[in-house]
Symmetry: C2
Amino acid sequence: MQNHGQSKIYQIYLRLILYLKKDQWKQTRLISCQANQKLILITMQDIISVSTGPGCSSFGFGAMEELGPFRVNSDGKTLYQNDYAWNNVANVIFLESPAGVGFSYSNRSSDYTTGDKQTAKDSYTFLINWLNRFPQYKTRDFFITGESYAGHYVPQLASLILSENKKTNETVINIKGIAIGNAWIDDTTDTKGIYDYYWTHALNSDETNAGINKYCDYISGNFSDTCEEYQSQGDDECGEIDIYNIYAPLCDVDAQKPGSPGSVKDFDPCSDDYVSSYLNRAEVQEALHARNTSWSHCSGVGWTWTDSPTTILPTINQLIADGITVWIYSGDIDGRVPVTSSRYSVNKLKIPVVVPWRPWYYNKEVGGYVIGYRGSMVLTTIRGAGHTVPSYQPERALVMISSFLQGELPPSLM
Amino acid sequence: MQNHGQSKIYQIYLRLILYLKKDQWKQTRLISCQANQKLILITMQDIISVSTGPGCSSFGFGAMEELGPFRVNSDGKTLYQNDYAWNNVANVIFLESPAGVGFSYSNRSSDYTTGDKQTAKDSYTFLINWLNRFPQYKTRDFFITGESYAGHYVPQLASLILSENKKTNETVINIKGIAIGNAWIDDTTDTKGIYDYYWTHALNSDETNAGINKYCDYISGNFSDTCEEYQSQGDDECGEIDIYNIYAPLCDVDAQKPGSPGSVKDFDPCSDDYVSSYLNRAEVQEALHARNTSWSHCSGVGWTWTDSPTTILPTINQLIADGITVWIYSGDIDGRVPVTSSRYSVNKLKIPVVVPWRPWYYNKEVGGYVIGYRGSMVLTTIRGAGHTVPSYQPERALVMISSFLQGELPPSLM
């Protein structure tokens, strides 16, 4: 790491990279990267695709392209600092989950056939081991965040922590809240939200919208073949755009300038390529104590997923009943799990509003909108952010997560 | 103008600045700026505000911040070139209309009490005088474009041209088509489109949306006091954003760098200030042959507007019947006259679809979407553009207007 510009700073983060012994948790290794600040917060990440399911790297996306302390320059070799990294306000662990995702692996190929329950169990085991290794964090307030399919992971892990805490009759992990972003939490409302979003954002024709409204019964969840044909037509009509940020430019490989330094305020649509190059460098993998591997953002584990509930809303409801703070945040220009989906899903919970919908402010302009529900549940948007919220709006995302950690709504004043 | 960087090039454009004698058209002067290319095209521009009405400058907005050959640097004194100016594909006249707008003025204050009909008449008189002075353009195909409240001006002027052509039994002005952008064309559908857009773009609460849907009868056009209260609440809920581009940053005067050169690919939200400074410079006003005046983007003439039909759709229908090409284009992140409004208004015309809705392409990605109707009517969007389309998407806007002028839909291939 000596050659990588900010190597000195980076080593501070790397020195806490962990090895977990094989037998400590089912021959499965997860890689974690941890930074030094006030609170413990774990991010879990995944990309949902309607047809494929989960399987992407929290380290590759979350740490290296979103909320981590560094991002990769276009040379794929050097880093630049992210002034709006979430470790400004919390210790952050990036968990590669489940086994087979990113740098995590298992020696048993059968472990790559996995699902929601196994992911929660493995993550819990990791956390227990980690807290045993760093007992000074045991008393801290603990929060979990994640985006996309982590709309499943995060509530499920929180739920497992609570039930394990009850079993032991003591607070093993002091969980206080979860924050899930552009999160897939209910198959029917989220799917309805996608196609409503496509139409209202002028990505789809009136005809396709009418067909979807006529043939897709999002209340029953019964989708006829005709419904799916119309949905497929809706997907096609969007054309060549980045559905994770419908207004962003696409990565144009021919237009890449390999030597140019990146800017955290101007997210580079080719960042996936840079991160992939970086994390596949032998010396980087060595410095990360990862095994020598052909790293990629998303793995095939999503293809053999064994269990995935159609809705996670009952789990969320129970968390709220158990006193856990639940924030559902949404970058409002994401078309994959759009803000309409999150609103429909939250509405399905039918929880009374305590603080009516209002804009929130950062730097004298609207950073997003927020609505507060009974039981510390919050829905908040981040204006002008895509699916990976801190990639596109790093400052606003930091304000949002700071408010979450402080137990306050984002600021109402200009 | 010798001190202004590109003065030599700019003088080419300025040499055709016209003087119109007072008695040539009712003691009213309009300022025009004309460039040298293939076709004649006139832009008319205005900003609609729901409560106030029309009255803004085509020269200040259209020429200096959108589609003209130059834009103003942040010093308010120097210019930079717009590589995507529409005069790449057409001669462009920017018409300050009606009297009292921008540099145009009248010696009779009563002329400042004006309306749609007077604006059309004055513009027609200007055109006749202009063609008499430059008869070489008389045989050219002629197009009119405009945005916002020009959704009124442009169809009305086109309609007047056709009726005057009929009277004289010869083609006095060879009008072929009109293109109107984010255009206010029907009070009821456009208003409904605004509030639907606010809600679907997560700018408004469910409660406000429900109230609007319950109390606002957009079919009859009868708005009760309760409806207007909910609409007002909807406006308030948006908070401090630029409603003309809901994702754009606001102008932060403290963050302005007076010396920095502008970039046509990165629209500066403080451009209004720079243009205002520039056009108020004594030597600029002198070079423009404008009278010495305190120039501002928008004038008070909108406050005393005498006539404005509730819908312009019958006029558009008649233009189509008369063989005029009608393009309605829309920057899809404008909240003032949003794409929903344009879609609802076009649908109200009930014209059969000839080319179904599809994406169109520029530079291997979606530039927008397009749908073709019988009789050369087209609705097209420009992806990621605000109200002033070429300000935010200069390349896509140029592709769009080139297609319009060539009588072709924007390209379907990547």
